[in-house]
Symmetry: C2
Subunit: 562 residues, 2 copies
């Protein structure tokens, strides 16, 4: 059989990445990144509205062309490599990042009449202009269709598909009226690559549909009447601009069209997989399997698991989503995560420390402290709480400061708080029958922050394994590229088979220290008290113990009064 390669195309918030992988062993043959050219780091902002964040779809295409060409150029150095050996393409993007398109599938923002209309752009995942609409949809669903919310954490987010559609209807009715379809970026890119100019026939992906648009096999998208009761025009979007069925990424969206084959210098007819959300394919690229929690640790965290869809699975309160087939076909995809991880550490260093090397300096100092020694405890909610409280209007908390508290102690407390937030999620999963037998981490923090990783291991009492690939999202996309290519073409016939060869672990694992874990168990009990007191409505216990217990633990760890 001829040598084969798979291409993963990963569309992030600020840039696109192309990764060429050898499916036989997961070797990363070449990779390249290209930034989106417009706006501020690829994001169109509005100085008057801090909630607004949009993108130009053509930026995605320009960056895709550039990074694919660059990756191919790098791959050309590999002996015998030819672009024609790429047998399958997978795609992941941010979500929910929907955009309005015309009858031919072209972004509306390309039309001259909408050139200055921000509503005709793509609505980036982090656009929060629809916060009021999200609350409206949540309230309506709670009353009439609680089952819609049960699979997505109990609260419909302003980051998601319907909130943005409703906001677009209200902010720019002429835009939505002119749209033939309202589509996710993860559906738009495969449609472009396959040259499909009829959005009615685009294969929408189950990942974004299930996690962001309340799609479920039982009822497909939410009921048109339900949506029409919120706003008649939203019912109309449901009826005429969306879809009735969603697909998993082991399905082909189509074949690479001659036009894009020419632009990218690839073989026309190469199969292109149905798209998916970046984090979900990141889990695939990290080697997620039943019992393993794939943890993408960057500015925020995404915690992904899969669970056989042949087994029953309860609704798990507080999870971002449970969607059949969203990560690996045949499995429920479970999504959880923390709204801010690295963002909190960066905030602290940028606001309360000096210079670029501060992470390194602070980490070196913070590493010398024993757990409990500072008497500090932090809630990691500076950017709200995504799981399990699903509440963007929560904030940070730091407790236990004395006149001797140092910057490095606070830095460490913030890391510990983050690890405790991670532990809360793990315990919730296990409580609802999803055992966490291993944790595989990836992302910037997993690669670069030994202190954070060790504290995560010590707080959770679990080894922190590291994904072999440092770009798991693109790797996951490449895996789906290999799957749609199929075994006969040098790919695979199942995701599991592809993962078995294409994913792996780094030799380094962060092992929990039993002594430190024991102290963290005591701290975690206090963390949970604060978590429940400030994050839930039902907590009615005294908090008078918290400061005292922290001091007692501190004195015990320091050996004071012995």
């Amino acid at each position: 059989m001829a040598k084969a390669y798979a291409l993963g195309l990963d569309f992030g918030t600020n840039s696109a990445r192309a990764l060429i992988v050898d499916p036989a062993n997961g070797r990363e043959v070449a990779t390249a990144v290209a930034n989106y050219p417009s706006g501020r780091a690829g994001i169109i902002l509005d100085p008057k509205d801090p909630n607004l964040a949009r993108q130009k779809p053509d930026d995605w295409l320009a960056a895709m062309t550039k990074c694919t060409q660059a990756a191919l150029k790098l791959a050309a150095r590999v002996k015998g490599f030819k672009p024609q050996q790429i047998v399958g393409i997978g795609v992941d993007t941010t979500a929910s990042t929907p955009l309005p398109v015309d009858r031919q599938g072209g972004p509306l923002c390309r039309q001259k009449r909408f050139a200055r209309n921000a509503s005709a752009l793509a609505w980036l995942w982090k656009d929060h202009t629809s916060f009021a609409e999200a609350a409206e949809i949540t309230e309506a669903a709670r009353k009439k269709h609680p089952e819609y919310l049960a699979k997505c954490g109990g609260t419909y987010s302003s980051e998601w598909f319907w909130s943005k559609a409703l906001r677009c209807i209200r902010a720019a009715p002429e835009v939505m009226a002119a749209a033939a379809a309202w589509v996710e970026q993860s559906d738009f890119i495969p449609a472009v690559l396959t040259g499909n100019s009829d959005p009615k026939t685009w294969k929408r992906n189950i990942c974004a549909a299930g996690h962001k648009a309340m799609y479920h096999a039982k009822w497909t998208l939410p009921d048109a009447e339900f949506l029409a009761a919120i706003d008649p025009r939203l019912g109309e979007v449901r009826r005429n601009k969306t879809y009735e069925r969603a697909w998993a990424s082991d399905q082909k969206a189509g074949d690479l069209c001659p036009a894009w084959a020419g632009k990218l210098a690839l073989r026309a007819g190469t199969p292109v997989a149905v798209g998916a959300i970046d984090a979900h394919l990141g889990a695939v690229g990290a080697g997620v399997r039943p019992g393993s929690l794939a943890k993408i640790l960057g500015t925020s965290s995404c915690d992904m698991m899969i669970h056989p869809n042949t087994q029953s699975l309860a609704d798990i309160p507080g999870l971002c989503g449970i969607v059949d087939g969203s990560i690996v076909p045949g499995y429920f995809g479970l999504e959880a995560g923390q709204s801010a991880v690295g963002d909190i550490f960066n905030w602290f260093v940028n606001s309360f420390d000096r210079g670029d090397k501060a992470h390194v300096t602070l980490a070196a100092e913070a590493a010398r402290f024993k757990p409990g020694q500072s008497g500090l405890l932090a809630l990691d909610w500076n950017n709200g709480n995504r799981c399990l409280l699903v509440d963007p209007r929560l904030t940070g908390l730091l407790i236990g400061q004395t006149l001797h508290t140092t910057r490095a102690e606070v830095y460490r407390a913030l890391i510990e708080g983050s690890a405790m937030g991670a532990r809360i999620i793990m315990e919730r999963l296990e409580e609802y029958g999803v055992p966490v037998r291993e944790v595989i981490t990836c992302g910037g923090i997993a690669e670069k922050s030994p202190l954070v990783m060790q504290i995560y291991a010590d707080v959770t009492g679990r080894p922190m394994k590291l994904s072999r690939s440092a770009q798991t999202c693109a790797m996951g996309a490449a895996i789906y590229g290999a799957v749609v290519a199929g075994a006969r073409a040098g790919g695979y016939d199942s995701v599991e088979a592809a993962q078995a060869k294409m994913t792996g672990l780094k030799p380094k694992t962060y092992q929990p220290d039993p002594g430190r874990h024991q102290v963290y168990n005591a701290l975690f009990k206090l963390y949970r008290q604060l978590h429940d007191a400030f994050g839930t409505t039902g907590y009615r216990e005294s908090l008078h113990n918290v400061m005292k217990d922290l001091l007692a633990l501190r004195d015990q760890v320091r050996g004071i009064g012995k």
Copy 2:
């Protein structure tokens, strides 16, 4: 009548100050400071025990000599001034700072056999080695004599007289056995100046006795049997090394002895007042009168009031002390305060900012924020809570951080938290029938921090007046010097008469802004929730509102969502 002057001698933690005042108008003719020569800034420390803080009594005498001579030298520039015109001397010191003395009143540490024994030194107010003994005394008093604690906040402190005596008995029984008396610094200094070599006859001051040793006119010092039940040797101290009666500072301790008259170049026979605690005389020097709260704002705060002893006064839970005659004879002296004020701001700047000018820079930036704008709220307990919770084992808390929170916002939140702690005390006083009709501030922060003063005014809704004198403790001592001199010698026959002429206000008053005060009322409600939840045992309400209310207030102040 010949021109007369009064001398105030103020013994602080690190230095002594002499202040020569014209009693006719309060004019500060000359002042000088001398540092204590030994240890670290005058404090003998133990690298092995961070709780230990002692002083050498001879340091006090050396510094007193030096600063008095320096002040006299400066005063000599005033036309017609002669040292013989000083008609009365008043003394204030830190407290509780007790020391063991021999039969002739000499400090035991002067004896060769105790030269290396830290227990023979003076036990500085901030020595906390007796924390276990304090708890023991508190427990015993709660069971057998709750009335002992009712006048001093409900908890006997490790900073105080009996805790330190008990600790001395246990740590160095040979020292206490050798002591003829266990005396406060504020009794020791006047005894030295008056050349009284029989400690049995020293006039002990009501201020330290009442506020630090549970002395009360009804029962004098605590019962010997009660103390003996804690430790028989403590009963023995009570019986043989203390006193049966305490005196107010309008009484003469005696007349300046020839030896010290010679050393200080003053007239022998000059009357020396009974001593008192620095903060209490600070209130006198600030012009305290019924209805006025004298607030000394420095590293910590002391809040002092007086209340006619002809009127009934309830025990006020959480106050540091209520002692008849401790500030002005004929009035109950009420003492409250916060364990850390400037200390918290300094801690923040030193730990989280850069360089010496940071207070100025941060204050300038923080002054631009509107109340509520940051969404932050802080508890000011980094050094525990002295009033009203009387709990050294409480710690700081900061709530409301986002990824956008700045250093200046936190700085302002710490100031606001401090002001709310001040407001809690004022409201408690009023609740128990002591109206606060004016607030007169003094101390380093009152002099130097307009931002802090304005926030205090806005949070409490009360004008913050400024004492005319910048050294109110020494001024209070000088006032008592004038009082023991008497009107016939150019002084006064009552404290009130002396205060009327010798104290006053600066022209500047910080007026509360009604709009800002209104926002702070909303914040104060949340502060009180946190205060009660973490500081008391009885709080059982939900705290789920706190972060949300802070954000709602923030958005309202910022005009978001309007």
